[in-house]
Amino acid sequence: MSETLITLAGIGNRSVGDDGIALYLLETIQDQLPDEIDVQLWEDQDALSIAAELMEIQTPVVIVDCADMGLNSGEYRWFEASECYLAQQVNSLSTHGFGFADALALAQTLGFMQSVFFFAIQPEQLNFNEHISATLQNRQMSMNHSLLQHLQQLMHQLMSQTVGGKINV
């Protein structure tokens, strides 16, 4: 049985339009991934539950999610957590306004030390419906390809850093 090198987590809600894209993406590429990548779908999870999930992860983690990055709809980016500012809602904290940034901050405050990478997609619409917008659907093949490439690169990077069977990240 292979040792898990990467946790790949998709966050989303299929009832909120493009917010479900991460779940569809991961379901599509899941069979093409090596055993060293543990795929988790964090569907409809509130942020505290995500913080709890993060606390159990012992590998670098790749988060696939929708994000407002000021890009055109359907554009996507791969980046590390250290490359961006994640806006928190700490002073108006309710479970309605508690997002991934707060979940990550909470987990890190509690000792979560793993590297975090993002594959983020700019949504077109986040309305209450069960459809991915045509713009994102048209780019899904390209997203799949890009995500697989980035994962492959990260795998190589991590394997090259493995010393004595342990990951040294």
């Binding site: 409809d44 913080a51 709890a52």
Partner: protein, 434 residues
């Protein structure tokens, strides 16, 4: 200058760390409270209209969406009400599964509210993050409990939010027995963590304000009533059947709230953890009674801030009860049951305790078996009147000793102590189906 002679205007838009949006307005002139309103400003949500024309088995799935925190409660209340409307009965196995599912939500909701939303108030910080910095081991335990409760709901109901497995007269797919065994082990292991979580709560200081009110909860002859029972009033010491819930709620409107208010035998009443502990203390598990003692929670307790202590007591009660119930469930092989049912014309209501108090649902069905009547009265809409009455009594008591900011903080804490779910409380009661 004495605060009691000052003019104070407090306007909090919106109170944080609760579900939904509510505002507090207080106007003190020359030490006298001229105006005090708890304003509920959420828009109406019209859920009772959404189920118009829906077949019986789809009603629970639809109304589950009223709330992302109490989805299990709304679902179970609807299932029970629909079954009552159609004269359907359930097996002991289904009842036990529902009891466990309901209590899984108590564990996750109480853990969320107590440790992540309420306790920051009592250690003087604005959010969970500074508390996590100063008390990492405590918050790790609270997070672990929340995850355990989430997984508990998912194993029984198929998923954490809006479970798909429970339905009319049974379960669409039974929980995996191995996963139930794992859950049982995790519940048993959580007891040690809970002891440490109780120790932390025990050393917190609680505002010392009391107002006796009417405490309303379910009451059951054989158990601490959460899944079913009659509606009990501490004022009369008597119960009425769930079908007469409108005699209890007596909903009415006020200009400053989009949520309806309730009253029964006096100007307001309280539902929720403190009401349940006050009314049903003797039926708590011994371990929960021990915790009530350790927390110095003596019944009847008239301090609404101590609703948070009652939540801690219920976490202990539900954990031990779930361990016993799970063992009982695992003693026998679960049997898949026939979930077909005969639809008919009828009307039925139900009452169930959810973390924030009693939840009432009622549904009617026409000759074609389609829903033609719906009503839901949620705990927060029953509590809002009582919260405002508390504020009206406490503000004059607090004025001599508190400056404006401290007073405002205590009002926010009071509102939070009730664990309000304001989004759920807003709905239109009067529904006319054409």
């Amino acid at each position: 200058m004495s605060t009691s002679k000052k003019n104070i205007r407090i306007k909090i838009d919106h109170v944080t760390r609760l579900e939904g949006h509510g505002s507090i307005r207080i106007n003190v002139e020359q030490g006298k409270v001229e105006k005090l309103n708890l304003e509920i400003v959420e828009a109406n949500r019209f859920f009772e209209n959404l189920v118009k024309g829906v077949p019986p088995h789809d009603v629970p799935q639809t109304v589950s969406r009223i709330c992302g925190i109490c989805c299990v409660g709304h679902q179970l209340a609807a299932i029970k009400a629909v079954e009552n409307a159609l004269n359907l009965t359930i097996s002991p196995q289904t009842r036990l599964l529902r009891v466990l599912l309901n209590e899984s939500q108590f564990l996750q909701s109480h853990a969320l509210h107590l440790y992540f939303l309420a306790i920051p108030d009592y250690v003087g910080v604005k959010s969970i993050l500074p508390l996590a910095s100063s008390q990492p081991e405590l918050i790790k335990k609270a997070l672990k409990l929340k995850k355990l409760a989430n997984d508990f709901t998912a194993v029984l109901g198929g998923r954490t939010l809006h479970p798909m497995m429970p339905t009319l007269v049974g379960w669409r797919k039974l929980p995996d027995k191995n996963k139930l065994h794992e859950l049982l082990e995790r519940l048993q292991e959580s007891v040690t963590d809970l002891e440490q979580m109780v120790d932390f709560v025990a050393q917190l200081k609680w505002p010392d304000y009391e107002r006796q009110t009417e405490y309303v909860s379910l009451k059951h002859a054989d158990e601490y009533a959460l899944y079913e029972g009659e509606i009990y009033s501490s004022d009369t010491g008597k119960s009425v059947p769930e079908s007469r819930y409108r005699e209890v709620t007596n909903e009415f409107t006020v200009a400053h709230s989009t949520a309806k208010w309730s009253r029964w035998h006096r100007e307001s009443y309280m539902v929720g953890a403190l009401a349940r502990v006050n009314n049903n203390y003797e039926q708590l598990y011994p371990q929960a009674k021990d915790v009530a003692n350790a927390l110095d929670l003596k019944v009847p307790c008239y301090n609404p801030y101590k609703n948070n202590l009652a939540q801690m007591v219920e976490i202990i009660h539900c954990t031990h009860h779930c361990i016993d119930a799970m063992q009982q469930l695992l003693e026998k092989d679960l049997q898949m049951e026939d979930i077909h049912y005969q639809s008919s014309k009828g009307i039925g209501s139900s009452a169930i305790e959810v973390p924030r108090g009693i939840l009432f649902h009622e549904y009617g069905f026409d000759e074609q078996g389609l829903c033609n009547h719906a009503d839901a009265v949620i705990p927060t809409s029953q509590n809002i009147n009582n919260i405002e009455q508390d504020m009206k009594q406490f503000v004059p008591q607090m004025l001599p000793d508190m400056e404006k900011d401290e007073l405002a903080s205590h009002m926010e804490m009071l509102l939070r102590a009730y664990d309000p779910c304001i989004s759920c409380s807003v709905h239109m009661l009067d529904v006319t189906f054409v």
